[in-house]
Symmetry: C2
Subunit: 346 residues, 2 copies
């Protein structure tokens, strides 16, 4: 009979004890599952971009050395977590075995093709062979196995789009799903970084939800992006500004909304010091949703106090219930967006 | 006739232009007000603890040198913002003049005694004389003037308690006010860092709001604190653990709540790496409120995703409408808490 493991996988932490699997230096990658784990045959790793760039650079862009470096990390740590960047990535594979306690209780069956939506930095992994490395897309083809914990997230890969397209969208799945939850009919919404991958999906979701009485304004970095977003009907108005210049953003954002402050702003610009530009345009009682990993907690907290803004500031959570389905639906519903993603991100 | 300034004070930024007053190196401290500014006669500065400690140390604990260092900073920058720590503090004073556009529209009149609730790091200040320095409480008695912008926050100092007591509580006013807003009747609430100044006020507010069907559990660092909180009826149960050890916290927190996950956790522990201990005990759909400035944005965002928690994570905002009044009320309503603050923080 299979033993039951901790739902977060803590039973696999080797050292230091007491930490979670992501914070641990080394985890147990024995490919024998507990009753609440899922064993997967892995065909490819999508290494996190920061991690791949670091390893590939340190190996002087030599593919054999890069392969060996990846094998060494996994051998040493039991997971593909870059010791310099701390980051991981995701895997693609098929379900090989579902633990007894999960069988019938989850929407997976053996043989299903899935992408993991939790980081490789916390996922037990064992690589038997690296078959190819595609440095232009940070992708490593492997023969490997991995374990998903009971709390682990995954998405079944859809039949109606290519694996690459699905992965490009799933990469930023949390943002549109949380935007969908925050936007209400009639809202005015400012999306900082509207022309990026996640930004476009957020714009799309906001446009769907504000309805005829609402307004979606996207902040972008150049006129081309502004015209692109408008031509794709992803916003009512686009403004061109740098999100690091709060007063300029405030002026342009208010002008684009009839002088009124916004109900919600979404910051999905991956550069530092965009906190004030996200806070200033929002009305008292409104919400700022920070999805960018470059967000500084203290700058946001002290910044809102400094300008006397009584707003709710939310930390973007990579996971929201149904986030994979919501994100893939965007691409199914919006042919223009799908074609753009196909062209730009694959 | 008075000119109207920018509501956030941006008209006073000297360099670099385009930034807000907090981020600016130098601001204009001319003591002549715009129509939407307030001029105050300042009697004392409560320097931020990190800032005072740095200056006092650099001056080898010499009071004259410390005084000169403070004068130099304000002379140079137009505001009391420590160039090393970046932080400020608050001032105490009386209202000297209210701009024409604000008169009658705010709850202040000339002569009112107030404490500023926005940071000195963004407040125009001119010191004519330093009268005394009290290093044990980071306090500097001065003859000075300061300006509050239209967006500036302040609290009228109450008649029914000492200035020192009011200031000790106002220092952490954002936390209990936001806790009050987040807690609903019947909720189970976990407060990490319940025995600190802000933590006790949050506990008090949570106890008031959960009602007979709710439950408040405080996490503290030692048994003495646990007994103190229980004896003061600031929680239903207190658990002793380190908030940097998530699995230990999870086990004890669940045990203290009949095995059930919490609706809300409040993290008000001022040490690093308390994100996972705040996230794990909360149910799907629940809320984590991070008030600690030691919170790391990325650790929270990636941490919740890593364990598949669909929760709302909120960045503590130093300002919430009515936060000063809510916090002072705590001390008025709870005699035991007031006596404890009187003894411990003055």
């Amino acid at each position: 009979m299979q033993k039951k493991g901790n739902k977060y996988g803590v039973h696999r932490v080797i050292e230091p004890r007491g930490l979670m699997t992501q914070a641990a230096r080394k985890i147990d990658n024995t490919m024998e599952i507990c009753s609440n784990e899922i064993l997967c045959d892995v065909t490819a790793l999508n290494i996190d971009s920061a991690s791949f760039t670091q390893i590939y650079g340190a190996c002087k862009k030599d593919l054999d050395q890069t392969a060996q470096a990846i094998l060494d990390i996994v051998q040493e740590r039991g997971k593909m977590q870059n010791p310099v960047t701390g980051s991981g990535g995701m895997f693609i594979g098929t379900v090989a075995q579902i633990g007894d306690d999960l069988k019938g209780r989850i929407d997976l069956k053996e043989g299903d093709k899935i992408a993991s939506l939790v980081s490789l930095s916390l996922t037990p992994l064992k690589i038997s062979k690296i078959k190819a490395i595609h440095p232009e897309i940070d992708r490593v083809e492997v023969e490997a196995q991995a374990i998903l914990f009971e709390s682990g997230l995954y998405a079944k890969l859809p039949d109606d789009m290519s694996e690459e397209l699905a992965l490009a969208a799933l990469d930023v799945a949390g943002a549109p799903a949380q935007t969908a939850r925050l936007v209400q009919a009639g809202n005015s919404v400012l999306i900082l970084g509207g022309a990026g991958k996640g930004g476009m999906l957020c714009c799309c979701e906001a446009m769907k939800r504000v309805g005829p009485a609402g307004r979606v304004v996207a902040l972008v970095i150049c006129q081309e992006d502004a015209e692109l977003l408008k031509s794709m009907h992803l916003c009512h108005e686009a403004i061109v500004a740098s999100a690091t210049e709060p007063m300029d953003v405030l002026d342009k954002a208010l002008a684009a909304n009839g002088g009124k402050e916004y109900d919600l702003s979404v910051c999905i610009v991956n550069v530092e010091s965009c906190e004030m530009a996200s806070i200033l345009p929002v009305r008292d009682g409104g919400t700022v949703y920070f999805f960018s990993m470059a967000t500084n907690f203290a700058k946001a907290a002290l910044g809102a106090e400094g300008v006397g803004k009584d707003i709710t500031m939310i930390i973007g959570n990579g996971y929201t219930k149904g986030h994979a389905e919501i994100t893939l639906s965007e691409l199914r519903e919006n042919r223009q967006l799908r074609e753009y993603f196909q062209k730009k991100y694959i």
